[in-house]
Assembly symmetry: C2
Homo-oligomer: 209 residues x 2
């Protein structure tokens, strides 16, 4: 039976495994779609429009915000970032869930939006902060200063854990993936999310001839 | 991490597979306990006190009701039936979930009780009413008249489907069992049900030395 498409908000500090988990979920269920953000910053080498981001001009971005076409948006280092509403509503009409990789501010805005009733929010915690820092260093991409900045941002992000429906501690990727699958399976079975249930029960009662 | 013990209300018309599903869940997770009802009716041959029912005297039953020691109770054909509160609270303190096999009236009373915030309610629908009747007849226990009465009660029971958190259509026992496991797994991961989460995050933030 179809369910009303959900808005799955997945938040975590950088390095807690969120991107890997989102990818695994989409491998598990290919009806899941990932919300591609729009941004006003220029593309970096290798970035594909519509895949990594929708790259749009500042004026066009601000027009979308004014027309309530962004579920959430924020300015970071002078660039605008946001989640376009239209692809999410299209997915919902098709009974498909959308995964949002957003921080606590994005999560708050989406929850407060007109689609807030369809949100399932999940926060992924690292098992420890030294472990988180180890994972960031293992990427080998960033200087000590950048890592210190990321760790500071991580602490701010973690401080918002209590705003989420579910909180997972990612000390084992397979276990956390299984937990996420259970959450999605269960949320789709909630009575108020099963689109055809009223009609099914009506037919059930009538077919008792 | 421990979670606060849940009250799992499993309701369905007779023959929709509820007892089989409850048994399977308890095979899957032996920390689950089944709420044994108290009753004032005399034991039938083979029934064991404390296993099938707690058999108690009408006066003792009414004393328990007055002392708010029954989470729900009802009179059926002159006999009293109820769910004792104390074993449920003990299980909750141990972080264990209790499964209740109760009808919609029992479900309503438990939801309205002081423990209502810990309730997860699940309604199991049969795929069709003729299929339900076929299952009842396949038991070979009951007369046509008794089966007609059960079918009437089933329709009344089904009419309350919209009061439940989750509604499952049991057209495949294995699938329905998997759905129930997902619901229990997810409900235990809800932030507000994870007993040690606040302390975990506090320690997480402090151990960043």
């Amino acid at each position: 039976m179809d369910h009303t498409g959900l808005l799955i908000i997945l938040s975590s500090p950088s390095g807690a495994g969120k991107s890997t988990l989102a990818r695994r979920l989409m491998d598990w269920d290919d009806s899941l779609r990932f919300s591609v953000s729009a941004t006003t910053r220029p593309p970096r080498p290798g970035e594909v429009d519509g895949e990594h981001y929708y790259f749009i001009a500042p004026d066009a971005f601000r027009d979308m915000v004014r027309a309530d076409q962004m579920l959430e948006h924020a300015e970071v280092f002078g660039n605008l970032y946001g989640s376009p509403r239209e692809p999410v509503e299209k997915a919902m009409r098709e009974g498909r869930d959308t995964i949002f990789d957003v921080d606590w501010q994005g999560g708050q805005q989406i929850r407060a939006s007109a689609l807030g009733g369809h949100v399932v929010s999940i926060f992924v915690l690292p098992p420890s902060l030294p472990e988180l820092e180890r994972r960031l260093r293992a990427r080998g991409q960033d200087s000590d200063e950048v890592i210190a900045g990321r760790m500071q941002k991580s602490r701010a992000e973690i401080s918002h854990w209590a705003e989420y429906d579910y909180v997972l501690i990612n000390d084992d990727l397979d276990r956390t993936e299984a937990d996420l699958r259970a959450i999605l399976t269960a949320e789709r079975l909630r009575r108020d999310r099963r689109a055809g249930l009223g009609a099914f029960v009506k037919k059930l009662m009538e077919d008792d001839a």
